[in-house]
Symmetry: D2
Subunit: 360 residues, 4 copies
Amino acid sequence: MKYPPIQYHDYLHLDQLLKSQTLRSETLGTKAHDEMLFIIVHQTYELWFKQMLHEVDSVLATFSESSVPEEKMGQAVARLERVVEIQKFINGQVDLLETMTPLDFLDFRDYLYPASGFQSLQWRLLETKLGLKMDQRFSFQDSPFFKQLKSDQQAEIQSALTSPSLFDLIQNWLQRTPFLQTQDFTFWSLYQDRVRRLFQEEREVITRNPRLSDQEKQRSLHQTQISEEMFESLFNKEKFKKLQQDGYFRFSFEAIHAALLIQLYRDEPILQMPHRLIQALIDLDEYMTQWRYRHAQMVHRMIGQKIGTGGSSGHDYLKKAAEHHKVWKDFFNLSTFYIPRSQVPPLPRELMRKMRYSEV
Amino acid sequence: MKYPPIQYHDYLHLDQLLKSQTLRSETLGTKAHDEMLFIIVHQTYELWFKQMLHEVDSVLATFSESSVPEEKMGQAVARLERVVEIQKFINGQVDLLETMTPLDFLDFRDYLYPASGFQSLQWRLLETKLGLKMDQRFSFQDSPFFKQLKSDQQAEIQSALTSPSLFDLIQNWLQRTPFLQTQDFTFWSLYQDRVRRLFQEEREVITRNPRLSDQEKQRSLHQTQISEEMFESLFNKEKFKKLQQDGYFRFSFEAIHAALLIQLYRDEPILQMPHRLIQALIDLDEYMTQWRYRHAQMVHRMIGQKIGTGGSSGHDYLKKAAEHHKVWKDFFNLSTFYIPRSQVPPLPRELMRKMRYSEV
Amino acid sequence: MKYPPIQYHDYLHLDQLLKSQTLRSETLGTKAHDEMLFIIVHQTYELWFKQMLHEVDSVLATFSESSVPEEKMGQAVARLERVVEIQKFINGQVDLLETMTPLDFLDFRDYLYPASGFQSLQWRLLETKLGLKMDQRFSFQDSPFFKQLKSDQQAEIQSALTSPSLFDLIQNWLQRTPFLQTQDFTFWSLYQDRVRRLFQEEREVITRNPRLSDQEKQRSLHQTQISEEMFESLFNKEKFKKLQQDGYFRFSFEAIHAALLIQLYRDEPILQMPHRLIQALIDLDEYMTQWRYRHAQMVHRMIGQKIGTGGSSGHDYLKKAAEHHKVWKDFFNLSTFYIPRSQVPPLPRELMRKMRYSEV
Amino acid sequence: MKYPPIQYHDYLHLDQLLKSQTLRSETLGTKAHDEMLFIIVHQTYELWFKQMLHEVDSVLATFSESSVPEEKMGQAVARLERVVEIQKFINGQVDLLETMTPLDFLDFRDYLYPASGFQSLQWRLLETKLGLKMDQRFSFQDSPFFKQLKSDQQAEIQSALTSPSLFDLIQNWLQRTPFLQTQDFTFWSLYQDRVRRLFQEEREVITRNPRLSDQEKQRSLHQTQISEEMFESLFNKEKFKKLQQDGYFRFSFEAIHAALLIQLYRDEPILQMPHRLIQALIDLDEYMTQWRYRHAQMVHRMIGQKIGTGGSSGHDYLKKAAEHHKVWKDFFNLSTFYIPRSQVPPLPRELMRKMRYSEV
């Protein structure tokens, strides 16, 4: 009662909100019943994009600090997990849109030209703030989305591009992981030794296997060698640079090491939240990928495809975006370098001490 | 290219839409991060309510005609099924709202007074247009929702209350089912005979059962008698009136008969769509009930409960609404009167002919 | 009470069912907690596959008849819609599997060799019975799945391959559509006329457009010509054959015509269920595609990818399968040939009469 | 290759699993198509129950220790969250079951007597292991579920009843929270002071409010007093005992205090995981409640209701179970005692130090 009273209707600006649906079919021709669904689906998408940006912005602020105190980790993780839940939820809206048949869509499709979901500023901002770079987008020279935006919208994208993205900030945060810089920390040589021993054992198993012919043994040993060489890239900065050039990893040598440490020793109290943070980012990438892919399917279903093509340009773009616009692919690829937990070397005693609550 | 070009941003009125989130906590005190989520959740609810009303209005229009041609049934069913899909979908939004903890809610709860979801005009309109009557609402004398609305909103509800609801129109449509009025149609006596024979058989099975004691036989025979008496209400207009007075059925004697016919003979071509229509209405009731119940749970979780009560008044209201605000309970209760398909009497030949395509 | 009593536990064979989880990690080494999840996820998949096959088999039986009576359509559609609901539901199980991290998977992964989901007989049967042909699978010569099956399983697949698939039966059913054979039915010439007129109008709009340069007009007119030529394939059996050779359509000329008729005139009573049947098949393809794609993502996340490849062979296979193993692509591509409903020519009077209930 | 090879089919015991569906309708009468769905739905439920028990058992083991090291918290929380995801997922199976209509159910319902979901041992074990006590079940004297189980199943329940439940172990764990026993920790008096001051302020706001009549002021002040008295129960062990007797709280005085501390100071590093643990338990209760409620709805829809009753006994039982069989209601009710974060007193410096990583 301390504050001026407010009604639900006014609080939510419902007058404004519920008058924001103008059916072009009605204005310019014959009212098409399903245009309302089309509008509502896209408007709710945009409201949820706003919410996602709200969360991502707050996480960006947290990680912009020169150090992120542990007491802020719980909140940052919870907010990223909320973004994941929202993305997962709105993936289900495609089902609602598909209750509209292609024939129903044709009733108003012509009135919409050239409006297109490609012009969604908020989605582009979201991708950009998370860390999708212009030169990573599959068609960058003649950027299909940038040119379609209004000039103030382009400026907003430009500003996001020149600010540190979540990818940049997470990289910085990973690089700062103190446990990697401890002088006496010989972890990586320990890990390397263990990996080499595992491969040595694998070679012996193959060589001794009586069920394998010589040719099969050769083939298996060759496979093993290739795998071992991959692991070597992890221990050798020069070889690692090659992985970066090939687009296999975008993170720095140090950041990848920190991420691997977090994932392998996730049960240490101080790494529990960082582990969850990484899981949330993997989930987010996966659901955003699904979103693009589902829309690709939906476009095919809705407007068919020209003969001799892999679908409309929209269908094609969305499929390629699903494939290539991953921001956190490094975390997916990192799985290549795990070894079974039973083989993971124990942490040095001093290091473990720092990862736990000493006094409780 | 025949029409003036339009951009995505303008088509969706995004300027207006994305500026409709005013955080009261920011205006009146300290910005509470999660107030944005609270607003977006309710705004997307309202947008979906608008869509549901859009569909329900169109179905109302179809069923307002003095006869509903079969070629309109497919569309009417598809639109009701869409309403069902939307209701099912937004039930999942409760999960998103619950990513906000009670403590986060407390950060801005005081600023919202006395705004409340009870003031949602669109939800009330939806309930009303579907057929929820004022005297059916569990607290009708001192109507908790009506008094909280603005006067123009009250007028809108009043107007909906005095127009035929979907319940009314579906009842009319059922009553018009031509197959019930065929002179020589002896279906109900056939059905009654069959039911009586089934109960007779059941009595014999009980009486002859060597594993049952006399006392058990008495009890079973008593149960059978009660069940048979229930079925008698279906064949006797006076007894049926009793069911209506008890609130067991709201539909008329004729409408219930038609509904039973549709459900039992749903495979007849002309009844396939009517059957789906009834299924959609049952689904809708079920998902609306879940929506109310989930919100009751959410309110308990979010604000706890006063000692000695069954929760807050909000929690309590929602639980009772879940229980009592069913519009299509008749269709649920109708299941009581089905008999196994193997026992359902075949339709008279002449009648069956009318339900099929004669010439194809 | 007429039948011998049965308990829940025995009815469901729970003794057997709940003893079917043997953790290889426990038998051969150290028990890995998450192996249970891995087993349960795959076992529930297989139970649902059994249910899907149960439904598909019953629909196959219905459509195997030389004519499908209308009174069987409601049931067939309901069963296909159930298959769709199941597929949609189990897509969500991927989320459950992903609560297992790659490191948890490593705890037992070695024990599973060479078991793999590729060896699921039921999934292959499902694909085959729906209509996926061997030469349509992206790697058919050296069939990766066939060779991994046991010989009795191979025989089962072989038998399914030599029986009519749902694709075959639906094609037959479409070809039998009586409305296409009516002597005086001039529908296709009507449709062709309408299409040509629409293209003519489009050309005029382009030519008269003062905002377009000559070069732009040339380009637009060229596009229009390409589109028009596509439509011509629909009216000319020779040109249509070209579409089939390119893999654009698999259905026959007649089947495609029938499908187009159903989709364009879906409101006619006799076409309402056929329309729903086609919608269900489109939905099924879309959810099966999502299932494959989601598993591709999951594999990437779970085991990473070798350098210089597009992922593991599993990841790669699943992505290609998502792309190419569509059974009902024809129905997706059909959308290319719709014209706005306002332009669709009315049905001849005599034909319309046959599609409606004459006597009611 | 170190281990004997295994095929997918054998690994999953598919021979056994896929032969565990015996349709009683087929054995005893006429095969009812939908009995398969009925069986598969319940079998997949039981498989998921097994998985949930697998997770709950492992969490029970963790919390059975006399102290739970922080490095085990991440895993325990992840496993409970998995149980939540499973429960949420299988709630969706009700939709699949409801694709079976009441008439389809009648085709085989008689063959199932007296089998019933009430006889599910695993579900009862799950409830019991989580902490549902016999005397908390709404019908305990003449226990409807206990008597229906086989004797070895009853023994299993009995054993679970006499072992510490998760509720018991969580209570112990809460009571052990070290921060509550610190000698100089004056937290509760601080909290009490703050609460009293807040109520004092509220009284002043009411008294000074010029818009309120004297009568309204009296009423508001009375409400405030009731609320304040509730809070007093939190600080006074005798008054708290009253809350326990009324069933408002089941936890001990100390456990409730610890839970409140965790929720209010959840951002402290050492409390982040405990906070998530509590959230997971709240979520679990909510989804289990929904499951019961959805099944109540389903039963009403499937078999109708007898006149003059609130539904069948099954419907009735499930609704009451939804209402009363909450295990973690304390955590819901705890929300009643939160105060706005801006008012929460800061932790004593020494205490805060112990909740953070001192040396990193």
